[in-house]
C-alpha cells in the first residue's frame, strides 16, 4: 500500500516539524484575531483582508528596498505597522461609533470592511501574482531526520514562540495589556474605574490587526501573493479561535497546533482527503469540549 513509507520514524519526525512551523504562522494570525474577539467580542471578518494587505505590503516594501535581504527584513517590520495604521483609520473613523450598538451590527461592519479592503487591494496592486524571496540566510534547507527541512520553516519555529512570549509578557506584565484583558472580561468595570473604554477598544483592534499584518508578511515568501488570499485563511482562523476558546491566546496556540499537526500528519496518512482535515478536527474537538479546549474569556 502506498502509505507504507508513512510509518518511518524519519518521515513522521520531519512532518512533525513541518506541521509545527505551519502552526506558528497560524498562531501569529489567530492570536490577533483572538485578542480582538476577546476584547471587542466581535469576530473580525476583515482580519483576512488585513493579512492579505500585510503580504502585499511586504512585497511592495521589499521591491522598494531592492528586493534582497534588507527588503525582506524591512518589509517584515514595516508591513504590520502599515496594516495597524490602516486598521486604526478604519477604527477611529467608523468602527468606534458603533460600539454601543448591537453585536451583529459590528459583525456586519467587519464584513463590509473586508469587502472594501479586498477591492482596494485590487485597485492598488492589480490582479497579478506577486512573489518575494526569503532572504539569503533563510533560503535552502537543513537536513532533519534525513530529509530536507526548509530553513525558512526553521525561522518560523523561532518566531512563533517569540511572538507567543511577547504577547504573554504584554498582556500579563504591562499595564496596557492588563487593562485590555480586564476590558475583555468586564468592560463596564473598566469604564467605572475611569479608563476610557473606547481607547482600549481602539488599541485592542489595532493590536490584533498588527498581527494579521505580521502573519501576512511572514507568509509572503512561502507562496504566491495573490487576490483571494483573504478568503483562504479566514475560515481556518475562525475555526482555530473557536476550538481554542474564545479570546484566549493560549487557546489560539492550542488550536493552531491542532490544525498544523493534523494537516501535516493527515497529509502523510491520507493525502487524498486533505480538504476535510480541518473540519474533521473541529468536529471532534467541539464534540468533546463544547466550549473550546481552554477557557473562553466570555
Amino acid at each position: 500500500m502506498e502509505t507504507a513509507h508513512a510509518f518511518t520514524v524519519a518521515a513522521m519526525g520531519s512532518q512533525f516539524f513541518v506541521g509545527l512551523s505551519r502552526a506558528m504562522i497560524l498562531f501569529v494570525v489567530t492570536a490577533g484575531l483572538s485578542f480582538v474577539l476577546g476584547v471587542l467580542r466581535v469576530p473580525n471578518i476583515a482580519h483576512g483582508s488585513l493579512y492579505m494587505i500585510g503580504a502585499f505590503c511586504a512585497f511592495s516594501l521589499s521591491k522598494l528596498f531592492g528586493g534582497g535581504s534588507t527588503g525582506f527584513w524591512l518589509g517584515l517590520i514595516l508591513s504590520p505597522l502599515i496594516v495597524a495604521l490602516v486598521s486604526l483609520i478604519a477604527e477611529r473613523a467608523l468602527f468606534c461609533h458603533l460600539y454601543k450598538r448591537e453585536h451583529l451590527m459590528l459583525l456586519l461592519f467587519t464584513f463590509a470592511l473586508s469587502l472594501i479592503l479586498g477591492d482596494l487591494v485590487k485597485l492598488v496592486w492589480g490582479a497579478e501574482y506577486r512573489s518575494i524571496m526569503a532572504p539569503k540566510v533563510l533560503q535552502g534547507f537543513v537536513s532533519l531526520f534525513g530529509s530536507s527541512f526548509p530553513r525558512y520553516n526553521l525561522f518560523l519555529l523561532i518566531i512563533g514562540p517569540l511572538v507567543a512570549f511577547g504577547l504573554w509578557f504584554f498582556t500579563n506584565k504591562t499595564k496596557l495589556g492588563k487593562i485590555a484583558r480586564a476590558a475583555a472580561v468586564d468592560r463596564e468595570m473598566v469604564g467605572a474605574v475611569g479608563i476610557n473604554v473606547s481607547w482600549v477598544f481602539a488599541f485592542a483592534f489595532v493590536f490584533g490587526c498588527f498581527f494579521a499584518g505580521l502573519g501576512g508578511a511572514l507568509v509572503a515568501p512561502t507562496g504566491s501573493i495573490a487576490l483571494g488570499m483573504d478568503h483562504h485563511l479566514i475560515i481556518e482562523a475562525f475555526l482555530i479561535v473557536t476550538i481554542g476558546g474564545l479570546g484566549n491566546m493560549w487557546g489560539a496556540m492550542v488550536g493552531s497546533l491542532i490544525f498544523g499537526l493534523t494537516q501535516a500528519f493527515g497529509v502523510l496518512f491520507w493525502p487524498q482527503f486533505a480538504i476535510v482535515f480541518p473540519y474533521t478536527a473541529v468536529v471532534i474537538v467541539l464534540l468533546i469540549w463544547p466550549r473550546g479546549i481552554l477557557k473562553s474569556v466570555w
Binding site: E2, T3, H5, A6, T8, A10, A11, S14, Q15, V18, G19, S21, R22, I25, G118, D119, K122, A127, E128, Y129, R130, S131, M133, A134, Q139, F141, S147, S148, F149, P150, Y152, N153, V219, T222, G223, S224, A226, L227, G228, M229, H231, H232, L233, Q263, A264, V267, L268, P271, Q272, F273, A274, I275
Partner: protein
C-alpha cells in the same frame, strides 16, 4: 445628530439609494448594428491575472479588426465579472443575453461556470459561446453541443502530451498531486490513462490532493519526498502554480525528483517568480511568446508588448484567436446571424500567430499543437522560459471525432 434631523437625513439617503438603483435599472439600449460580444470572466480573485490577459489579447484583435471594420460596422464588447462563482456567472451570462442583447458570448477560466453557461444559456438561448481559457475536456466533449466552441487547450490534450513525454522516460513509480477540484482530477486522470496505455508497467505510488488555493504546500511535498517516487506529476490550476513551483524549490524536491506539470512553462506562471523559478521542471503549453520564432508570432508579440508592456501569455493568445474567429466567422457568414456564424466557423482555418490552425467541425474545438519543454532561466532576462522544445501536432493529441461522438451520446 438630533433624532428628527437624523431620520430626515436617513430618508434622504434612502431616497438617493432608490433613485440610483432605479437609474441603474434603465435597460441598455442597443440600436447601432455593431457586432456585440459579451464577455464573462473572473476579474476578481486569484484567477484574475489570466482573465485580464485573455481580455487584452482579445482587445488587440478587436482593435486591429475595427480599423477596417466588419460587415459595415465594428465589433464592440462588454465584460462582466463572475468572481469565480457559478451562480454569479449564470446571472451575468443571462444578463448579457437577455438585457444587453449580445450576439455572441465569450469566457471564462472557471470550468464550472463554462459548463453551466454552456448548458443553461448557450444551448437554451441558442447563442454561440466561445470558451477561451477553461480547460475542461467536457466542454467540447461529453457536454458539447452546437452552440459551444473552445479556443482553449483541454485536459484530454494535456494528458496525452504529458503521457507522451513521460513514456519516453525510465520512471516507473509515480506520485500524483494537485488541486482538489475538477480540473486537477481531469488532468490527472487524462495523464495517467494515457501514460498507462503507452507504458503499462508504470505504477501509481500515491496521490495527494489539497484544497484549491492552499497556500502552504510544504507539508504535502515533504511527505511526497519521503515516499521517494521516481517522478511527480503535479495537477495544478493557475492559482496554485506559483505556490507549487516555489515549494518544489524550498523543499528541495526539484533536486531529488523529476517533476512534470502541465502549463508549468507558461509565462504568466514563470514571470512572477523571476530569476528564482525552479529549473528543470518539465512542462507543456500550447503557446509561447518566444516559440515558434516565426514572423507572425513576432509581430503579434511586438504589438502586444507595445499595447500592454508585457509579452502575451497563453490566455492572451486564446483571446486573440477568439477575436480572429469572430471576425472571420461573421465575414464568412455575411450577416450578423447566429446560425450562419456557427456554420461558418465549423472547419474554418485561420491564420494565427503560430500558424494556420483549424476550428474542428465535429466538436467545435480549436486544434492546437503542444510544446513540451523544460524550464530554464532565459539568458539575459530575469525570468525563466521553456527550453529543448518538442512539438506535438494537434491532430495527434486530440480525441478523435468518433471518440467525441461516443462521449456525447452517453
Amino acid at each position: 445628530m438630533k433624532k428628527g434631523s437624523r431620520s430626515r437625513f436617513s430618508g434622504i439617503v434612502l431616497f438617493g439609494l432608490v433613485v440610483t438603483l432605479s437609474l441603474m435599472m434603465v435597460p441598455a439600449l442597443s440600436e447601432a448594428r455593431d457586432i456585440k460580444v459579451g464577455i464573462i470572466d473572473a476579474y476578481t480573485g486569484p484567477a484574475a491575472v489570466f482573465a485580464n490577459d485573455a481580455l487584452n489579447g482579445f482587445k488587440l484583435a478587436v482593435d486591429e479588426i475595427n480599423k477596417k471594420g466588419i460587415l459595415g460596422g465594428k465589433i464592440e464588447y462588454t465584460t462582466r465579472d463572475t468572481k469565480f462563482k457559478v451562480d454569479i456567472g449564470l446571472n451575468m451570462a443571462k444578463e448579457l443575453v437577455m438585457n444587453e442583447k449580445v450576439d455572441i458570448l465569450v469566457g471564462t477560466i472557471n470550468s464550472g461556470v463554462a459548463l453551466a453557461v454552456s448548458d443553461a444559456v448557450a444551448k437554451q438561448e441558442k447563442i454561440p459561446f466561445i470558451v477561451w481559457i477553461s480547460k475542461s475536456e467536457n466542454i467540447t466533449g461529453k457536454n458539447g453541443h452546437r452552440y459551444v466552441f473552445s479556443t482553449a487547450d483541454n485536459t484530454a490534450q494535456g494528458g496525452k502530451v504529458g503521457a507522451v513525454a513521460l513514456a519516453k522516460k525510465p520512471y516507473k513509480n509515480y506520485w500524483i498531486a494537485g488541486d482538489d477540484y475538477a480540473y486537477g482530477h481531469d488532468i490527472a486522470d487524462s495523464v495517467w490513462k494515457n501514460l498507462k496505455a503507452l507504458k503499462p508497467d508504470v505504477e501509481k505510488k500515491g496521490e495527494s490532493w489539497w484544497k484549491l488555493g492552499e497556500p502552504d504546500l510544504v507539508p504535502y511535498l515533504t511527505s511526497i519526498v519521503a515516499a521517494k517516487p521516481d517522478c511527480v506529476i503535479f495537477c495544478t490550476g493557475g492559482q496554485s502554480m506559483a505556490n507549487v513551483l516555489k515549494a518544489v524549490k524550498t523543499t528541495g524536491m526539484i533536486d531529488k525528483i523529476p517533476v512534470y506539470i502541465h502549463t508549468a512553462t507558461d509565462h504568466a506562471v514563470l514571470k512572477p517568480l523571476g530569476a528564482e523559478a525552479p529549473e528543470g521542471v518539465m512542462g507543456t503549453m500550447h503557446y509561447h511568446f518566444y516559440y515558434p520564432d516565426i514572423p507572425e508570432n513576432k509581430a503579434f508579440v511586438e504589438a502586444f508588448e507595445k499595447a500592454y508592456k508585457e509579452p502575451p501569455g497563453f490566455p492572451a493568445f486564446n483571446g486573440y484567436v477568439t477575436g480572429l474567429l469572430i471576425s472571420e466567422g461573421f465575414k464568412k457568414a455575411g450577416a450578423i446571424d447566429r446560425e450562419k456564424f456557427i456554420d461558418a466557423l465549423e472547419g474554418m482555418k485561420i491564420a494565427t500567430p503560430i500558424g494556420k490552425l483549424e476550428m474542428r467541425a465535429c466538436d467545435h474545438q480549436m486544434v492546437y499543437p503542444m510544446f513540451l519543454g523544460t524550464t530554464k532561466k532565459a539568458p539575459g532576462k530575469d525570468y525563466a522560459i521553456s527550453s529543448n522544445i518538442v512539438t506535438l501536432p494537434g491532430e495527434e493529441i486530440l480525441p478523435t471525432c468518433e471518440e467525441i461522438k461516443k462521449a456525447r451520446a452517453q
